[in-house]
Symmetry: C2
Subunit: 365 residues, 2 copies
């Protein structure tokens, strides 16, 4: 493999992927070993692809200890399409779905659900710019709700649940796009977990859905629902109802394998905690930088921080980019800086950013 | 680039891609030149990706001479999701959509449309196993219909329109998944064209939609429609409402560039005609093989044929596969053999198949 010049990529998603995964994709891109065709060319009905799909699912089940009464689906459309599919499949007539409005993406999910049925906003921190997560005591939950929807990590605002909301027997549905498999997860605590792949587990274009069978069964035989939006159809066809995003599934499989080889979710959790701790320590060190998220709710994935003025922030981003630290500009809706440091983000990049921050403070403090 | 052993891939989709495209993807897979990040890792809001997207669109406009009052969209979900999006966006209350039921995929489109609104089956050749296309004189069109839906190439049955149905002022909506950009197209004859990429223009996971602006505008401000299924939203956001299938768009762009470099649609049409003619000539040569599609409706993309017995067909497919001719088994719903010979399928593969057929006939005839 030729050595290539790679920058440190702090993008919020699509985001950095493990270099060994990229190298494997590269090495077999023109023809999969022993197959004579590229993974981009093989039929989704071929034994080769069926094996890729089965391996990806088996490795996900192994990595996250997914109980046998949960389906693992590979879909398209990202979390944004899940915002509609979740209520279209799970929110029956006469039922209410509870939504925890804890961030910009949570609000989008909530808006789509309102098109489908009755929604109760269980809590909202929108008035505080979503700088903190609602507390358990603030939740107004509907008895017998169809489900409670939560966004486990809020990419834009830099907050993340370290303890899940308690919702009793009601199914918890989670958009885990930006923290999935960043640490151990008890899948049995959820009714359904969904995640666009492009942050922690692969390239854009494939969406992972892990759903309890009784929830999947809700849409069985539902002839009114567009077939492509029906969880039950995708489950019955093991994600092969139509041509799946084959390359995305293949790449996700390699990322999952990389996580397993690394020691699984406990191992990546340790690395992620160490990376985030280094960065937050620097943010908190002198007061020159200022973290924007409530300290108790700080995300290990998206570290949001600001400087004294927007001019200084522009300068910071510009000089960081020139120094090979790419993608540090905060989301356009909140400004400031954001360092997205997902599973595949290398610790050396954290060290480089911390050094850059210290140098920047020395020059501009 | 190391030489790799590649087979001839007759798969109906995902299908063979141009080798130079695969080699370019491979060469820059770990880091795009001058960018330091893989195309799998770059933000969809980055200048790099915006340039990839803009170039893909510009090249498509150039290749197919797309009029300026048409939008070019890159979506997810394949043709199967378009089966629902088309009526959800274009079929208003009190309106009727005409569907030409000319193949197995046309029937699927029709079934999804019926969930959304009023549908008239303008003609059907289902009773003849879709072995021919309905004639113009057989069409029962609804005056003032919202649109007429047609499948321009029927992948499973091996039929293809060489002359479009005449539908007057009613917008013609075409599923062109299996023959898009296989020859010159007058886009102005259509209201909307859609195509899953994985046959003629790229890998699975990205769907091309080319739609006239007045049709796109029909869903503007439609708050009831799921946002992700709204053409108008995708058009307003230049396919960047949410994270797009970035890799698929990049790969499609390279395939389009390859077509342009080859001489565009007239050039590929000549190649496709020559390839198909060689194969049909062999099928018709002695009567040992039998084409299944009506001769006037024969597809240049999917060549379907049978042998005297299913045993002999199994033997043919098995021995062909062993000889490096992969994917010749017909669709499970019709049996027999199918040679899918899309744009990127090399002429040398046709010659190899013809030789194999002659040899097979000599041994088994």
């Amino acid at each position: 493999m030729t050595t290539v010049n790679r920058v440190f990529n702090f993008s919020a998603g699509p985001a950095v992927l493990p270099l060994p995964v990229l190298e494997q994709i590269q090495s077999e891109l023109v023809a999969l070993p022993g197959v004579g065709m590229s993974v981009l060319e093989i039929s989704h009905r071929s034994k080769t692809f069926e094996a890729i799909l089965a391996k990806a699912e088996a490795d996900i089940r192994s990595l996250a200890n997914v109980p046998s009464n949960y389906k693992v689906l590979f879909l398209q459309g990202g979390a944004s399409l899940q915002f509609s599919m979740v209520p279209m499949n799970l929110l029956g007539q006469g039922q209410t779905a509870d939504y925890i409005d804890c961030g910009s993406w949570a609000e989008k999910a909530l808006k789509e659900a309102k098109k489908v049925g009755t929604v109760n906003v269980a809590a909202s921190t929108k008035g505080e710019n979503y700088s903190r997560l609602p507390k358990q005591s603030e939740l107004t939950l509907t008895p017998g709700a169809a489900y409670v929807h939560v966004t486990t990590n809020n990419t834009i605002e830099g907050t993340e649940y370290s303890t899940l909301p308690q919702v009793g027997d009601v199914p918890l549905v989670a958009d885990a796009s930006s923290d999935i498999f960043s640490g151990p997860v008890d899948v049995s605590k959820f009714g359904l977990i969904y995640a666009g792949a492009q942050k922690n587990i692969g390239p854009a274009g494939v969406t992972l859905v892990i759903a309890r069978e009784d929830l999947v069964a809700k849409s069985a035989g539902n002839k009114a629902l567009p077939t492509m939006l029906n969880y039950s159809v995708h489950a019955e066809n093991t994600s092969l109802y139509n041509t799946p995003p084959a390359f995305g599934i293949y790449a996700m499989g390699l990322v999952i394998k990389w996580l397993l080889d690394l020691g699984g979710l406990p191992a990546i959790a340790e690395i992620n905690k160490r990376k985030a701790a280094k960065l937050y320590a620097e943010i908190d060190r002198t007061g020159f930088f200022r973290g924007t998220a409530n300290k108790d709710d700080r995300s290990l994935m998206n570290v949001t921080f600001r400087l004294g003025s927007e001019e200084l922030e522009s300068k910071f981003v510009k000089e960081a980019t020139a120094a090979g630290l790419d993608g540090l500009k905060g989301h356009r809706s909140v400004g400031g800086m954001r360092a997205s440091i997902y599973n595949a983000f290398p610790e050396a990049g954290i060290d480089a950013l911390v050094s850059f921050m210290q140098e920047f403070e020395r020059k501009n403090g």
